[in-house]
């Protein structure tokens, strides 16, 4: 027992020093040298100022921008405190939230998209993401928003649609994962298009 205790005490200190401090420090140094942008959080700068990260939604609400998926964080799109919504598949609160989100989308998009009904809203548009900061929307949800963005910005619809294609992340290696449109990058591209 005493021998185990002595060995354990030494091992705990040695393993923490090596696996908890030395190796992470060396690894961080390597990461900062080899992949500095990714290691710092894939931040996007415009004119030297950080405007966000390509890996975090930021809660677009203005009509000239594409909007992201709903977020359950407090406040919404909090990239400092991620969370699920945790509403079960039969929870009445989920039904209510989905109804309200769908109604808000119809109200916002119908003026630009008169034929739109609830059956035309893709499911990712009315459900919270798992992280609360999902940077992507489905192509279907981007297409749904395209007429509004084009009209508000006085851009040809074809231009907006081609920007959607440019900012769609394909599957990794061509087959892993699903397609997603990166909303921050798409909105930045729109602003750049118009020289803002």
């Amino acid at each position: 027992m005493a021998r185990d205790l002595r060995s354990s005490l030494i091992a705990v200190v040695a393993l923490t020093a090596v696996f908890g401090l030395a190796i992470p420090a060396l690894f961080t140094g390597f990461a900062q040298l080899a992949f500095s942008s990714q290691a710092d959080g894939s931040l996007i700068k415009v004119d030297g100022k950080v405007v966000g990260s390509r890996l975090a939604a930021q809660g677009f609400a203005k009509p000239q921008y594409f909007h992201e998926r709903p977020s359950a964080t407090t406040p919404a799109y909090n990239a400092g405190a991620t969370t699920f919504a945790n509403l079960g598949p039969t929870n009445p609160d989920l039904a209510k939230a989905v109804r309200q989100r769908a109604a808000a989308i119809l109200k916002l998009e119908r003026p630009f998209n008169p034929g739109l009904t609830i059956h035309g809203i893709p499911v990712d548009a009315v459900t919270t993401s798992a992280s609360g900061i999902d940077p992507d929307i489905s192509q279907a949800y981007a297409q749904l928003q395209a007429p509004r963005v084009a009209a508000v910005r006085h851009l040809p619809l074809a231009t907006v649609k081609s920007l959607i294609n440019d900012n769609t992340d394909g599957r990794s290696l061509g087959f892993l994962g699903e397609l997603g449109v990166n909303v921050l990058e798409l909105n930045l591209a729109l602003d750049r298009q118009q020289g803002r």
């Binding site: 923490t16 894939s42 203005k62 400092g80 999902d134």
Partner: protein, 566 residues
Amino acid sequence: MGQGIGQIVVYAAVLIALAYPLGLYMARVYLTPAFGGRFLGSIERGFYSILRTDPRKEQSWKGYAKSVLVFSIVFFGLLYAIQRLQAHLFLNPDHLPGVPSHIALNTTASFITNTNWQYYGGEYTMSYLTQMAGLAVQQFVSAAVGMAVLAAVVRGFARRSTSELGNFWVDLYRSMVYILLPLTLILGVILVSQGVPQTFSGHATARTLEGVTQTIARGPVALMIAIKQLGTNGGGFYNSNSAVPFENPNGLTNFLEEIAILLIPAAQVFMFGKMVLARRHAWMVFAAMFAVFAIGVGIAYPAEQHGSQVLRASGVNITQGQGQSGGNMSDKEVRFGIANTALWGTITTDASNGSVNGGHDAFTAFGGAIPLVNIFFGEVIFGGVGSGLYGMFFYIVIAVFIAGLMVGRTPEYLGKKIEAREIKYAAVGALFVPTMVLTMAAVSVVTNLGLASVFNPGAHGFTEALYAYTSQANNNGSAFAGYGATNFSAEFGTVALLLGRFAPLLAALALAGAFAGKKTAPVSAGTFRTDGPTFVVLLVGVIILTAGLMVFPALTLGPIVEGLSH
């Protein structure tokens, strides 16, 4: 669904292709006396000399168990202290306060036991020091403890007429340095290159395009994520775990993390085959595990693609295709879609990993029942690193025993007679945890203290409580995450975590000690063969009959009633 099924099939193929050679390598790590060569060997000998332990001196099962327990208790103290004192320590750029005592207690037990159940949100609760030098160290160490115990247990089957099972310190060191560390560094580098942060700078602040100030949490994430997956830990840096883009940015990282979740547990089956010279038998054990995995994903994927009752009734478009994944996208991420979230939910609970890339609480009733049942099986469908296979031995011994009863002959396993003592250890190992889970879940739904944690109404709320104690006691760590932290749930959970880890661990070592002392008998015509498909069917049957039937009544109260309601 073809694209999704294709991804799952590719996953299974790559997993087997990597696990087989890794298993053979791991057998060499544990079997070769001077494995490291001259340079690495001298570092290894240096470690033993500062511990003042003789690596050539082997231990009985009791001596081995004592070393495991003392080592775990000492680490328990350090990890608890770091959390409580983090406000006064270094590497805390965001000035987080100390962790509250009951959360720290539960978290310490959770990480010591390779569970990584999280009653906290990492990015706003734990300092970089706590994440890196506290929690992530345990992700290496608790994994290595499980791997070491497995090595000892396998020696018990391989050896005869001895009481010696190996040296804990040697097995611990080799698991960490020769197996976990190189794999972690490789995966860590790939993750950083894809966008997982690794920095000591505090949170970033952005001014968004609409002029709002946004706080972006980051830190030394990548290395922790690599070991969290490889060591079947599952405890993430961020609250939403592997769903957060900073832990899992794209389809490639998702695929590699999914591989990492099952890689070592799958490889250990082949390691076992080589160490006991029974490769065909090992393939049959692998086949049994793989069959249960395939059934699980085969149910979970269509269930999630079919969508939840609420979404189906809402009228929105949940059809796959036309630019979307469709299905139950509640608490799921667009870049993973349905197939990869269902696959992840299945394998993270086949393994005792418990990391999630989508919210299990929002899974459909039947989609969410698969993770629950997987965990309830005792984390033996590949299971935790080490603990998965040593847990499977309980079922194997019971299966062989039942086969022996059927032909009226003393059963043998790997040439050794199974007698009363072995059956007792195996029964304790297989039944202790499920019994405890059902008891604790029952207590937590009939007391006001327990009910305070339940988040969703109705049958789903019951499933949350059942899942919470199933996950903690079986050392998985995934959650129906609406289930909340109270002082009661944190402390009650601590009991589940510790008993659920150490009771089966001790039963496995005792079983191995009993087997090691036996002579081997030659195979005869009456020996039940464990290297054919009959054995696979029997083993899967025994798992379903023991654990499956125990959980079934509880399932009818939770997922089944929910799945059949509108």
